[in-house]
Symmetry: D2
Subunit: 290 residues, 4 copies
């Protein structure tokens, strides 16, 4: 005999763009460009077992709701929007006991001609994920992804074990490059989201640049530590840093030296370093990361 286990359903990748006309500091417009996903859980056995959909608020309705909420909250921080949306589902749909809202935000920068033109920045995507549960409460995890950074020096990798399959040479000076995926969990929701994001980003870039790196793990820890110091409302940082290998090209066969000048940027395989840094007084994450 079998039974239904954990499940959830929702609408993924609702593309919401909001224009706040004249809301900029200089009187220009402000754009928000979001990719919104919702996932609901609760008393959903019937639809799985018999196809009775009486408890299934449709994913089409979730799409509509994402747009409707953008009417009033489209100009807010992604966290505020996601919080409102998550609570709405749990509060208004009796069978739904948990809602998870994820938002990716793409950045735009004004083109300094007129007040209405913008270029997509492309440097990274800001993210948030809110989980609201009728019993367990509310959690907010924010972050960013797709931020590619590189150090031309100040990175070494030495002192590692040498087993039967080890051929790598030690290096005292290498390029270190990674595409940062970082998320930080907030202690509660009493946060100035824009300030928290700006501080975390600044801490991340500073830690990457300022850390003399003996391993990418050391950089992971340094980034996490510095984000927690800069954003006291956050209590846990999770990082996934692929090591975007840059190999020095051997130019000797061509009669040329290569004094750390010419590199081959490799695609695959890549190292992948995943780590967590926690405040000593961090509470249990519960459902925050699910």
């Amino acid at each position: 005999m079998v039974q239904l286990g954990a499940n959830r359903y929702g609408k993924a990748e609702v593309r919401v763009v909001h224009v706040a006309r004249g809301a900029g500091l200089d009187g220009g417009d402000v754009i928000k460009d979001w990719n919104v996903s919702s996932a609901l859980s609760g008393d959903l056995s019937a639809t799985h077992l018999t196809g009775d959909n009486a408890n299934v608020l449709t994913t089409d309705t979730q799409k509509n709701t994402a747009y409707a909420f953008a009417k009033t909250l489209g100009g807010a921080a992604v966290e505020a929007y996601a919080l409102a949306l998550a609570k709405h589902y749990v509060d208004s749909q009796e069978p739904i006991t948990r809602a998870r809202i994820g938002v990716q935000e793409y950045g735009w920068t004004p083109i300094p001609v007129g007040e209405h033109a913008f270029a997509r920045t492309g440097q990274y995507t800001r993210t948030t994920r809110v989980v609201h549960d009728a019993e367990a409460g509310t959690s907010v995890v924010s972050g960013l992804e797709g931020l590619t950074v590189l150090k031309t020096t100040g990175s070494e990798f030495r002192g590692f074990p040498d087993d039967r399959y080890t051929t790598l040479a030690e290096t005292a000076d290498r390029i270190l490059a990674t595409e940062v995926s970082a998320r930080w969990r907030f202690r509660d929701t009493d946060v100035d989201w824009a300030v928290a994001h700006a501080r975390a980003l600044d801490a991340l870039l500073t830690a990457f640049a300022a850390t003399h790196s003996r391993s990418l793990q050391q950089t992971v820890y340094a980034i996490g530590e510095r984000i927690l110091a800069a954003v006291p409302q956050a209590c846990e940082v999770r990082l996934a840093l692929p090591n975007k290998h840059h190999f020095l090209v051997d130019l000797e066969p061509f009669g040329l030296s290569n004094d750390n000048e010419v590199y081959y940027a490799a695609d695959r395989p890549y190292g992948l370093i995943e780590g967590t840094v926690l405040a000593d007084d961090a509470g249990d994450p519960g459902i925050a990361w699910d």
Copy 2:
């Protein structure tokens, strides 16, 4: 004060191709085409805190090991290869207490001219993920991803709640299409992996085709149920089924009828249904899905 939390590191996406020459039933070659990722955990505080890498078996070594193990196990099932690799790391590296090996396998079919030419099938990717832990033991989760299936009829969606934001009409006959991502957890490792894979695939396709679907959730459950029946060595199935919406095009403005003939295949947003089906006697998954 902060501390290091959960962490792991490894080499991702090592592209291993193995040719077993003359090993086919007909005397032709057999190809295995794998994308291998390893992630190790254990006593790794030093590299995070001080950059001391004495415990860090390098990701380059992990790449080498993936290739070396393919010498003897490149012709085996992905599960057998992954099991051997996972145990190797924990058994041979004292500080490493857990290894997770993931493999994606791309299928090839012989071209019936000569005995040495093949075409990539492209229909789906077979997957496995093995976790071996010095204390918690060994788990195997296998599956497939990228299998797109569609039913031209035999799918309805009715009886859902109607809230303030609901505009969707009920339908008694729609196209149902999804790109299946399915994984099943084995009870132990005493399994004929090839047979299990074939049975699970067959059960999945049969369930999708044979279930009169009142919701995609119902199809999720039917697939899970049927896989567990077909593969008794499995005790848990997890499915993620995006609803690849096919909307009937309104041809009336052009003076044409559309009797369920012409559809628009939408990209985003999409419904996403995630569900678990468990055998009643399934053991605790522990670290299997981490």
Copy 3:
């Protein structure tokens, strides 16, 4: 002073799915799954110079037209559908003197349970591109893309020049793998499109498998030659074959031999071989490839 040069506009990637119910040989349904793009040219100076759109049949209308034509031709060969669509624009819109219709067709195969379920094949995408010009007439170029093929032996690469930058070793036995992008130009439109496609595909696979390859260029030529022999209505074949390098892994450092067993499948960079094979009596292509 500047002037307007060549231009065209249209709707790209209209996703049309057509179900011909009960039209299969066995009474089952037949699916066509298309990605349709149209591009129109003609007297379009006004919209460029002044924004006067009197001659601009909107791209939204082109989308609608793609769906409307699928009502009657959705079950036909992509070439027949594209021909009808191309002629429609030039015949019905006076300012439009040229139309190019491109279609990608994704394959589906029945699931042998019931008569209404299908799985996407994924092996390759069938393509066509029709150009219809009021003066220059009509051309059809069909083909396929995304077909990945591999030979485990029967491929060598030797006798190449050795310049200052050459380090490659000669090889008498290598894996040859490529992702075929092939297109063939028809002499006219009096063609059984399904038969022509099947013959070209068979010729392509046979040529790849049967040719002892001393260079990928030789394989390019062999494929083109064999397609022209198999499809006499075609007079020109253009091929783009990336060399998907498979490098033998050096296992010696690990005390292992590698007798053409274990390979590393590389991503980038890749060789790219592009070639044309023409019938001696091929007419001038004119606008066919534009």
Copy 4:
């Protein structure tokens, strides 16, 4: 009987990263991050017809050459690097009569902590394509791709024809968004490449922002015209602008107004506008765009 037609071969996507240490204005490093592709043509019948590779400078050698030339020219403009590489092949390999070098350049911006850390800008990719032919001479086409821009107002679309399949409503105020792909052909090679690029980019952004757009075609022309005015060394501009549709969401069913605030950003299908703007005295492009 069949014959060999146009053909070329080369190495695609060689990932070259060059670090000029201490070469920045402020004493910091300067990074160049390139994706280099070469394609050679000439007397290549033998390899196609018989597999005789005596004239085939290997694609592996082309990869090596791309790296070797980066030793001295890795800090130069992409155009200067590509010119040197193209000439090298034609000058040094007697059978090779034409070389085409394409380079994509990814931008990096210093992180203002230390002098050695950078973040990838991600806003657009700079491109160049140099063709050098022993007889036809040398051409340079530069440009950019992936630059996404948006106007919140100042765009209308009206006055288009209304045929049987037209359902689109006219609009006097819409969002206009596109991902710019632009290329400009230089009259000769006596150019300050960095200045030309900066001027073209500025002209492009200014034209997009400043043009009151009655159609995307009008914007295409305005961009081309302004680039030619800003970069007199260029004589031809080719643009491909997908219309990234932003549709106003109908919030009325939810009792909400939508005063040009909330939009749905669509993926497919999309309009695609391609146009050319030429200086009146532009020379024949010859092989420049091949």
